[in-house]
């Protein structure tokens, strides 16, 4: 009914095409996206809707089981507040409204069964800049009047709790501590800059989107101003000559030529994607063993879902 500034269909991302200059796409907040699917009984990778900032109004044309996770965008159904991080029923004819951020920036709406769209280059992830993915395949964000199709849900297994445990719900009103794996050209930065990088508060700039988030704070100096362009992974923290770091997110360009301090972990990139301009964040150096352990623990929650859903006998 109303589309708001930015509502995009996202599955886990577009993989295997980065050598063609095609970016990864996928949910900016992988953590909340994954939980929205989990709570509705959808397997990992199911497409759901990433709603940035709010302003979206949808009407259900049939009863749907849904879950909304991520940012609190003051969501209502027929003017009644909707509980987040749990499965609820959205009845035929009712209007679901995403208003404006209370805390966080991006909410995820999953429907039982998942949204249906034709994959482009193996994925429905919607990347407007590349004109790829989404409901029509051409990378267009949602527009007023769009009709969203939904796959028929498989019968609920009853094994999946429709409510997230309290401890897994992030508090986006608290300052973010972002884990950074040192790497790339970190040795080219001055000692003072490395001290500042990990001891200063950084402010999220308003130049922030799904390509990257600029941080402002002390000027970081590298002995390299530009390098021959090379592939950049999710969460890469590049520092252009103005000394203000840019954290590269899902829709980043596939190659780039500024020196980098390293990469945020995928979960920290997710957390940063929930920060509004002017919020303060800290960078915390992290070893790769600890980061891998944390990432695998996060993914393990969702590992057995597909098997349960398809009702396969345990082997």
């Amino acid at each position: 009914m109303r589309a708001g500034p930015l509502a995009l269909l996202q599955d886990s991302g577009r993989f295997g095409a980065r050598h063609l200059g095609v970016t990864q796409g996928g949910p900016a907040d992988l953590y909340s996206w994954a939980w929205a699917n989990h709570l509705t009984g959808n397997p990992w990778g199911t497409a759901n809707l990433e709603v940035t900032f709010g302003g979206l109004q949808l009407v259900a044309v049939k009863d749907l089981d849904i879950a909304i996770t991520g940012a609190d965008l003051a969501v209502t159904i027929e003017h009644n507040p909707v509980p987040l991080w749990q499965r609820i029923t959205w009845k035929e004819g009712e209007i679901l409204r995403f208003s404006a951020p209370v805390s966080g920036l991006r909410a995820y709406l999953a429907v039982c069964g998942g949204f249906a769209a034709e994959p482009v280059l193996g994925s429905v992830a919607c990347v407007t800049r590349e004109q790829l993915g989404g409901f029509r395949g051409d990378g267009m964000k949602l527009a007023p009047g769009d009709e969203l199709s939904v796959f028929c849900p498989e019968p609920a297994s009853g094994q999946i709790s429709g409510q997230a445990p309290e401890e897994i719900v992030p508090d986006f009103s608290q300052p973010a501590f972002l884990h950074l794996l040192p790497g790339a050209q970190i040795a080219s930065f001055s000692g003072r800059s490395l001290f500042d990088a990990f001891n200063a508060w950084w402010q999220v700039d308003d130049r922030a989107d799904r390509m990257g988030v600029r941080l402002t704070g002390p000027r970081l100096r590298s002995s390299i101003s530009t390098l021959v362009s090379e592939g950049i992974n999710l969460g890469g923290v590049q520092v252009p000559p103005d000394g203000q770091p840019i954290v590269l997110l899902n829709d980043r360009q596939t190659i780039g030529g500024y020196p980098r301090l390293g990469s945020l972990t995928p979960l920290s990139a997710s957390r940063l994607a929930q920060c509004l301009p002017r919020e303060r964040v800290r960078l915390v150096a992290r070893g790769s063993a600890a980061a891998v352990k944390e990432h695998r623990a996060f993914r393990a929650v969702f590992q057995f879902m597909p098997r349960l859903m398809r009702g396969r006998a345990p082997s």
Binding site: F15, H19, L20, L121, R129, G235
Partner: protein, 232 residues
């Protein structure tokens, strides 16, 4: 040399400088990674001097994947590259109406516009990297006389097919995007098509020649002759 690119990636740095002699090595390294990593491979991003290897962090730890790459590097041979790149000819209409920087590049080089067109279309270029946009191929190296810096102010919209030059590199725009390169003309070749097998016409390592064609040929091949006008 290996550099960390997060918990699921390594940058393999093989060279320091841009050179087409790097290409058979990078190609061989990509192929070996595909063989050795198998299903645990998520993405490979080759670029001028490096290869970014992205792997499944649930299947491999950073140290396991590092060991695998080191093993590949230990006996890497450029001859492993089965193909040394496909060859393409891109029909290109060089004209000031669609290539408004022809005079700028000519002045910079101290050449006539016709000499710029000849110099640009004579060489066979190699694709060093894809990036910036889907199917956008960075090619080189252009005749040193034609070397020309980017525009001070990038254009908001560069039309599809625009053939462009910056520094000693050349490219053709697969989709309409912003861009700061010098425009020399337009190609009718379809560079990126999400409905085509393989999607991108050009791949890293390919050989490309721009073939100067008449306006009539360009139009017949489906090229868009709409002039740039005064809008920049």
């Amino acid at each position: 040399m290996l550099e960390s690119a997060g918990l699921d990636g390594w940058i393999v740095r093989l060279f320091e400088d841009i050179n087409e002699r790097n290409l058979p090595w990078l190609s061989a390294l990509s192929q070996r990674c595909e063989q050795i990593f198998g299903d645990a491979l998520i993405d490979l991003v080759p670029s001028y001097t490096t290869l970014l290897v992205v792997f499944d962090p649930l299947a491999l730890s950073p140290s396991q994947s590092r060991a695998m790459i080191c093993q590949i590097l230990a006996d890497l041979q450029p001859e492993d590259a089965v193909q040394d790149g496909q060859s393409h000819e891109l029909p290109t209409w060089y004209d000031i109406s669609v290539g408004p920087e022809l005079p700028r590049v000519a002045e910079h080089a101290g050449l006539a516009v016709s000499e710029v067109i000849e110099a640009h279309s004579q060489r066979t270029y190699r694709v060093f990297a894809l990036g910036f946009a889907p199917g956008f191929a960075f090619m080189g190296l252009v005749d040193p006389h034609l070397e020309c810096p980017r525009l001070e102010t990038p254009r908001q919209r560069v039309p599809v097919g625009s053939v462009a030059l910056a520094g000693r590199q050349t490219a053709a725009y697969p989709t309409e995007t912003p861009g700061g390169w010098n425009l020399l003309g337009r190609t009718s070749a379809r560079l990126f098509d999400r409905k085509r097998e393989g999607f991108s016409l050009l791949r890293v390592g390919d050989r490309v020649r721009f073939v100067s064609v008449s306006r009539e040929t360009f139009e017949r091949e489906g090229g868009n002759t709409q002039p740039m006008g005064s809008v920049t």
